[in-house]
């Protein structure tokens, strides 16, 4: 029951923008907490001993490239080029997975270096903040993967361009959040 839209934007797209607005408060709170507690650890290991900036720069690059793939997927489905749509959706999800793999490796590495979740303030704020972001990436990967499967089943065509667009809105938002996190956690260490 898609009624007439008073604003000219569809309900679903408006809902995604609204949700993103609410998510800004969620990440804003997490980021503020991280910043307030920065440098207040009473026991190590400390962030500058652990954070591997070159490694995360690579996974950050991968995540940013996935946003490019997302744009290409949307452009393809808007042209009704279903073959390219499939390819780019797959690549977006795959790059998201690679990013998650990097995060898994990083978390594991930290734990082995003596920083389990309950170690200190840095471990608490770092794992919960980046873990929340990772959870969002994982949700996006499932969403994009589902779209990819639908596309291979031939159930996704140009009439679903907006569905891909909305998934893209979410994906780009999650990317933008990562840029903020990368800057505040890694570059400002």
């Amino acid at each position: 029951m898609e009624g007439p839209s008073s604003t000219g934007v569809s309900n679903r797209k408006l809902a995604m923008w609204t949700f993103i607005g609410s998510e800004c408060m969620l990440f804003g709170t997490l980021i503020a907490t991280y910043l307030i507690y920065r440098g207040r650890n009473v026991v190590g290991p400390y962030p500058d001993e652990l954070l591997n900036i070159p490694f995360i720069t690579v996974t950050t690059f991968v995540l940013l490239m996935s946003s490019l793939m997302m744009v290409l997927a949307l452009a393809a489905i808007e042209r009704n080029d279903l073959k390219k749509t499939k390819i780019w959706l797959f690549m977006t999800a795959l790059f998201g997975l690679i990013f998650l793999g990097g995060q898994y490796y990083e978390f594991n590495h930290f734990v082995h270096e003596g920083l389990p979740l309950s170690r200190n303030l840095f471990s608490s704020t770092f794992f919960v903040l980046t873990g929340t972001h990772g959870g969002h990436v994982a949700g996006g990967v499932i969403w994009l993967g589902t779209l990819f499967v639908r596309a291979t089943q031939g159930k996704l065509d140009a009439t679903h361009a907006e569905t891909v667009e909305i998934a893209g809105l979410y994906w780009h938002f999650v990317d933008v959040i990562w840029i903020v996190l990368f800057t505040l956690i890694y570059l400002l260490v």
Binding site: G3, N11, L14, S22, L26, N120, S124, F127, T146
Partner: protein, 625 residues
């Protein structure tokens, strides 16, 4: 004009057909905003009663000094459950019940933007409430107060499952609330009938829009705070652990940066009800409509900049306290504007003192008292004397009962005929109003005195001879009267449901769109989506030609105000769906598993994903109705 004459209008649908037809399964799978509204209403009424009984037990304990009716431990659990239930499982869902039933009808829509998401919000509210109360048979009720200050609520000082029930149930409820915020924001922005511009929206819908924004911006910080608390309690993190370099006051900031907007989430809808009821019963359009709208927006905006007034005694410093005290006092301005606009609306109007109007006027008076004591403790030096005393308890019960509850009662009497097609008894309604009004003041007015005499809240008893005995006894007597005051309400609801007079489409000669459809409204609400050309669309055509108000002319007629009996074209409505319920059950299982079983969490996750995919791939509508 009596209600039975109105039955001649097109609004003569019977109570037990249409909206209320069908068995349990049709209610379980419903995505109709009206039915979901009724489910919200009935469920939150039960929670209201339970929390009321808890409050009653607290008053019983405080009836006399050195009482041993409740032990301190149980007392702590009861005041925590009373506050938490009233705010999250009675007050807010009761408001959402009205959003659900009224908002689509007021904007000329056939449903909300996302009917299945709406159903999910309801299930999450119900399940979160049941989950919280499952702590009762387990004898593990939370006992840290509804604002659950750290470090009192850490696993060190609150061992056991009590606060885990609090954290997890509010996380679950919060997801449903945020989903509801998205839903109503999009609905009001996007599903208005042609010509229903923003400055023509009925005030109740305006306040629903503002409250949706408040929910969307205020709940995430609370969610994050709850997640921190859960991690501290369950996984040994240090978000509120001073020994690890953290600051426990962070919890207070996160809680109140949500908690103060929450206060406006609870009161603005009541203001919206009153802003619709007072004009209808004064037969006069709302005085200064744009000013009332913008003062609502201003209250919401300022509401995000005053949270520290809950924390004056923390000692954040004179500058911080002064700034937040000043900002708090500013809120009195838009609130006062609303009060004067309601009075000016009544001024010179043809006032009818029906029950909705009595509760509306009751709000104007009682809320003003609560607002004034609010301005008193907006001043940090005064607050340092009053904080954590019964003076504050008196204050927030005046705004929450004298404001929110009176507003919601007003809305209940106002829209009950629309929801059921039956009129409530005026005699019983007036008895309910006067009993409630008197009992409420007898209960809470003496608390101003016991508070100023220094009686602390959340303390299970007090010593004899401090001058507190009489005030407490009066409060307890008032509380019993308050419980008694619910009898005429339930008698009235039961009686009206059984054999109330038919209401007709517009029993109150009210001016807004919900009164153009039959009572109860058909499944599709509007056979023809109306076109709106002015504010108060049911009044002005007649005022222009000098005929008085709508309803006095053309019984059963076909003027543009009256809906045809049958839709001229097929109407597409969303199909019922059980997937929201499946998803809700999955999320409940996850929540329960979070008490200590990873396996159960994963099982819940699987069910949630099943519900999500079933939902995503279900065609949302089939044929026309």
């Amino acid at each position: 004009m009596t209600a039975s004459e109105h039955a001649l209008d097109n609004g003569d649908a019977g109570v037990h057909e249409g909206l209320y037809a069908g068995g349990i399964w049709s209610w379980v799978t419903t995505v109709d905003h009206k039915r979901i509204g009724i489910l919200y209403f009935l469920t939150s009424l039960v929670f209201l009663l339970v929390a009321g009984v808890e409050g009653q037990l607290l008053r019983l304990q405080l009836a006399r000094p050195e009482n041993r009716f409740l032990d301190p431990d149980l007392y702590n659990q009861l005041f925590t459950m009373h506050g938490t239930t009233m705010v999250f499982f009675a007050g807010m869902p009761l408001i959402v019940a009205f959003f659900n039933f009224v908002v689509p009808l007021q904007i000329g829509a056939r449903d909300v933007a996302f009917p299945r998401l709406n159903a999910l919000s309801y299930w999450l509210f119900l399940f979160a409430g049941l989950f919280l109360y499952s702590s009762v048979p387990l004898r593990a009720m939370p006992d840290g107060g509804w604002f659950a200050y750290m470090p009192l609520t850490s696993s060190e000082y609150s061992p056991g499952l009590g606060m885990d029930f609090y954290v997890l149930s509010l996380l679950l409820a919060g997801i449903g609330t945020i989903a509801g915020g998205v839903n109503f924001f999009v609905t009001i922005l996007n599903m208005r009938a042609p010509g229903m511009r923003f400055m023509r929206l009925p005030l109740f819908t305006w306040m629903a829009l503002i409250v949706s924004v408040l929910i969307l911006l205020a709940f995430p910080p609370f969610t994050v705070g709850l997640v921190f608390m859960m991690f501290d309690r369950s996984f040994g993190t240090h978000f509120f652990d001073a020994a690890a370099g953290a600051d426990p006051v962070l919890w207070q900031h996160l809680f109140w940066v949500f908690g103060h907007p929450e206060v406006y989430i609870l009161i603005l809808p009541a203001f919206g009800v009153v802003s619709d009821v007072i004009p209808a019963f004064s037969r006069k359009s709302l005085f200064g409509y744009p000013v009332v709208v913008f003062s609502g927006i201003l209250i919401a905006f300022l509401g995000f900049g005053v949270w520290v007034h809950h924390m004056f005694s923390v000692g954040l410093g004179p500058v911080v306290n002064a700034v937040f005290g000043g900002a708090t006092m500013l809120i009195a301005i838009p609130t006062g504007i609303k009060i004067f606009n309601w009075i000016a609306t009544m001024w010179g109007g043809q006032i009818r003192f029906n029950t909705p109007m009595l509760f509306a006027i009751g709000l104007v008076g009682s809320f003003t008292i609560g607002g004034l004591s609010g301005v008193m403790h907006a001043s940090p030096p005064a607050d340092l004397q009053q904080t954590d005393t019964y003076f504050v308890v008196a204050h927030f019960h005046y705004v929450l009962i004298g404001g929110t509850v009176f507003g919601l009662f007003s809305g209940l009497y106002y829209w009950f005929p629309k929801a059921t097609g039956r009129m409530l008894s005026e005699a019983l309604g007036k008895a309910h109003f006067w009993l409630t009004f008197i009992a409420f003041n007898v209960t809470f007015f003496p608390m101003h005195f016991s508070g100023l005499l220094g009686m602390p809240r959340r303390t299970f008893t007090y010593a004899e001879g401090l001058g507190l005995d009489v005030f407490n006894l009066i409060s307890t007597i008032g509380a019993f009267m308050f419980t008694f005051a619910f009898i005429p309400l339930f008698l009235n609801l039961w009686r009206a449901w059984r054999k109330g007079e038919p209401a007709g489409a517009n029993p109150w000669d009210a001016p807004t769109l919900e009164w153009t459809v039959s009572s109860p409204p058909p499944h599709y609400n509007f056979a023809v989506i109306p076109t709106v050309d002015r504010r108060d669309p049911l009044w002005h055509p007649h005022i222009e030609v000098g005929l008085g108000w709508a309803g006095e002319v053309e019984p059963g007629g076909v003027s543009p105000r009256v809906q045809p009996k049958e839709p001229p074209e097929p109407v597409h409505m969303p199909d019922p769906s059980y997937w929201p319920l499946v998803m809700g059950i999955g999320m409940l299982v996850m929540t329960a598993g979070a008490l200590g079983s990873l396996g159960v969490v994963l099982l819940g996750l699987a069910v949630t994903m099943l519900g999500l995919f079933g939902w995503a791939f279900e065609p949302s509508e089939s044929g026309a109705h």
